[in-house]
C-alpha cells in the first residue's frame, strides 16, 4: 500500500477548526483551507445526510456583501443572475462568466434587501472573483468581503433539518420556500438562513460571524438527529445529484450551455459573456456534460478517457462510489452525439475499460430538497 500521504501547509483555519479536531475530523487542504474530509467515515456521513441530517462547515466559501442603490443594477451586469428582478428574500444560482462565456465561478446570489445582496462563491475562486467584481463595480455600491471579516457558514442538510432548525431559530424553516433566504437568529445569534444546499436534501445554510457560528454549530450537533459530515460526503452527495463542482465540471474553458445549465445564464439582458452566449446558443454544442453510472463499484477518475467502441469521445470530470446507488458514478464531457441518456460508453480507468451508461440527472432521485412539507 502506498500513496496515502499529503502535504498541508499554510492553509487557513475556519472558526470551527478546534471543533473539527475535537470531533476527530481528518483535516485536509481544500481551496486554501484546512477542513475535515471525514469524521466517522464518508459512507456513514453520506447515508446519515440522506436519512436524517448532517452539518458541514462551509466557512471556506467566499461571502461578498454588496450594498448601495446601484448594487443590484451593477451585479446584474456582472453575473448571470438578474439581480434587479430577484425578489427580496430569494436566492438564485448562476455564474460569473468571462467575455467568452467561460465560467469564472458558479455562485448563489441572495437578495437580502432592496439595496443589499450577498454573493456566495467557491473558496478556491474567491480572490479571483473579488478582483473581477471590484473591477466592474460603478456608482453607489460597496463590497464587503464577509469571509475576510471572520464570517463563516454551516450547511445543515437532510430531511430532518427543518425539525432541527425549528427548535433553534426564530425563522420558521418550514415556511421558507426552496431558495428562500431570511435574516434571523439561531441559538440567539444573529445570522442569515437560506434554504439552499449542495446535497439534494432539504437543508439550510446558516451564515454568521465566527463566534456566533461556533455556538450555532455546537447547538446543531447537540440535536440527536445531527452528525457532522466532511468534504468526502459533501462530494459524493453532490455527485449523486449531478451538481457541478468548480474546477471539475466548470472551468474558464467551459460554458453554461455545454454544462447543461443554460437556464441559469439566459442572455435576455446584457451581462459579461451574454453576447457570446447568444452566439453559442445559435448552434448545438459540440460536447455536453453527462452523468453516468457503472454496474461495478470501481471508481472512475477525473481525466479518464470516455470511449465508444474504442474511440475517445470525452473525458471524466468527477467520479466516486455512490453510497445510495451502490455503484460507481461520475460525470464528464462527451461529444454531443454520445450524450443521450441510455447511451452505453466505456471509461478507461487506467486499469481496465469500465462499462458505463449515460443517465439523466440527478442520478439519485430520492432527494428531499424541493419538498413543500419540510416538517
Amino acid at each position: 500500500m502506498a500513496g496515502m500521504h499529503g502535504m498541508h501547509e499554510m492553509a487557513k483555519k475556519t472558526a470551527l477548526h478546534d471543533r473539527h479536531v475535537a470531533l476527530g475530523g481528518r483535516m485536509v487542504d481544500f481551496g486554501g483551507w484546512r477542513l475535515p474530509v471525514q469524521y466517522e467515515g464518508v459512507l456513514a456521513e453520506h447515508r446519515h445526510c440522506r436519512a436524517a441530517a448532517v452539518v458541514f462547515d462551509t466557512s471556506h466559501m467566499g461571502q461578498f456583501m454588496l450594498r448601495g442603490s446601484d448594487a443590484a443594477g451593477r451585479l446584474g451586469l456582472i453575473g448571470t443572475q438578474d439581480a434587479e428582478a430577484l425578489r427580496v428574500g430569494r436566492c438564485r444560482y448562476g455564474f460569473l462568466l468571462n467575455e467568452d462565456a467561460g465560467v469564472l465561478d458558479d455562485t448563489i446570489l441572495m437578495r437580502l434587501g432592496a439595496d443589499e445582496l450577498l454573493l456566495v462563491v467557491n473558496a478556491g475562486r474567491a480572490e479571483t472573483d473579488l478582483r473581477w467584481i471590484e473591477g466592474h463595480l460603478r456608482g453607489d455600491v460597496e463590497l464587503v468581503d464577509l469571509s475576510a471579516a471572520g464570517w463563516g457558514k454551516v450547511d445543515l442538510q437532510g430531511a430532518d433539518s427543518a425539525k432541527v432548525l425549528a427548535g433553534l431559530a426564530d425563522v420558521d424553516p418550514a415556511g421558507m420556500a426552496y431558495f428562500g433566504v431570511a435574516r434571523g437568529q439561531c441559538c440567539g445569534r444573529a445570522c442569515l438562513i437560506s434554504r439552499t444546499g449542495y446535497t439534494g436534501e432539504l437543508g439550510y445554510e446558516i451564515m454568521a460571524a465566527g463566534d456566533d457560528l461556533r455556538t450555532i454549530f455546537d447547538e446543531l450537533l447537540s440535536s440527536p438527529a445531527v452528525r457532522p459530515a466532511g468534504l468526502g460526503a459533501r462530494d459524493s452527495l453532490r455527485l449523486e445529484m449531478g451538481y457541478p463542482l468548480y474546477g471539475h465540471e466548470l472551468t474558464e474553458d467551459r460554458n453554461p450551455i455545454e454544462a447543461g445549465l443554460a437556464a441559469f445564464a439566459v442572455p435576455d439582458r446584457p451581462f459579461i459573456g451574454s453576447d457570446r452566449l447568444r452566439v453559442l446558443a445559435e448552434t448545438a454544442p459540440a460536447r455536453r456534460l453527462v452523468a453516468y453510472r457503472a454496474e461495478s463499484r470501481r471508481r472512475t477518475n477525473p481525466g479518464n478517457e470516455i470511449r465508444c467502441d474504442g474511440r475517445a469521445v470525452g473525458a471524466v470530470t468527477s467520479g466516486a462510489f455512490s453510497p445510495s446507488l451502490g455503484v460507481s458514478i461520475g460525470m464528464g464531457y462527451v461529444e454531443a452525439p454520445f450524450a443521450e441518456a441510455g447511451r452505453q460508453l466505456a471509461v478507461d480507468t487506467g486499469r481496465c475499460e469500465l462499462a458505463v451508461v449515460v443517465c439523466d440527472r440527478p442520478l439519485y432521485r430520492g432527494g428531499t430538497c424541493r419538498t413543500n412539507d419540510p416538517l
Binding site: 500500500m1 500513496g3 496515502m4 474530509v37 459512507l43 468526502g232
Partner: protein, 129 residues
C-alpha cells in the same frame, strides 16, 4: 492492534503463513488511513507474483492504493466476499477482510519481513515524520 502471528511489509500489508501458503491483507493502520473501502480489485487466481510486485488495488472513498505481494508465489485464492462487501477490509482487516492467498515460491522470503514488534516500531517512526 498488531497481531503477533503475522509478518508485515513497509507498505502495510500483512501475511499469515500457513504451511507453504500465505494469506495476505492490509493492516488495521492501513484501513484506518484509507477510510471506507468501496472497491477491491482482486488478483486473478493463478497469477504468478514476485516479491514486491503489485498484486491488486483497493479504492476507498478518499484514495486508491496498490497492494503488493509480500512474497513471491502463485495466487491460489481471492476473497470473493469483498466483491459485495469491501467494507470487510475496514471492519475485519486481519480476519474476514483478507484479500488473497499465495502459494509461496520461496518460504524463506518471509524472514525478511517485519514481525509485530518491528512493524509497531516502523509505525511509530512513520508517525514521527
Amino acid at each position: 492492534m498488531i497481531p503477533e502471528d503475522l509478518r508485515y511489509t513497509r507498505e502495510h500489508e500483512w501475511i499469515r503463513v500457513e504451511g507453504g501458503a500465505g494469506v495476505v491483507g492490509i493492516t488495521d493502520h492501513a484501513q484506518d488511513a484509507l477510510g471506507d473501502v468501496t472497491f477491491v480489485e482482486l488478483p486473478v487466481e493463478g497469477a504468478e507474483l514476485t516479491k514486491g510486485e503489485e498484486a491488486c488495488a483497493i479504492e476507498s472513498a478518499k484514495a486508491a492504493v496498490s497492494i503488493y505481494a509480500p512474497a513471491g508465489g502463485k495466487v491460489v485464492a481471492a476473497n470473493e466476499a469483498l466483491e459485495d462487501d469491501p467494507g470487510l477490509v475496514n471492519t475485519s482487516p486481519f480476519g474476514e477482510g483478507w484479500i488473497y492467498k499465495l502459494e509461496l515460491a520461496d518460504p524463506s522470503e518471509i524472514a525478511s519481513l517485519m514481525d509485530a514488534a518491528g512493524y509497531a516500531a516502523f509505525l511509530a517512526a512513520e508517525e514521527e515524520q
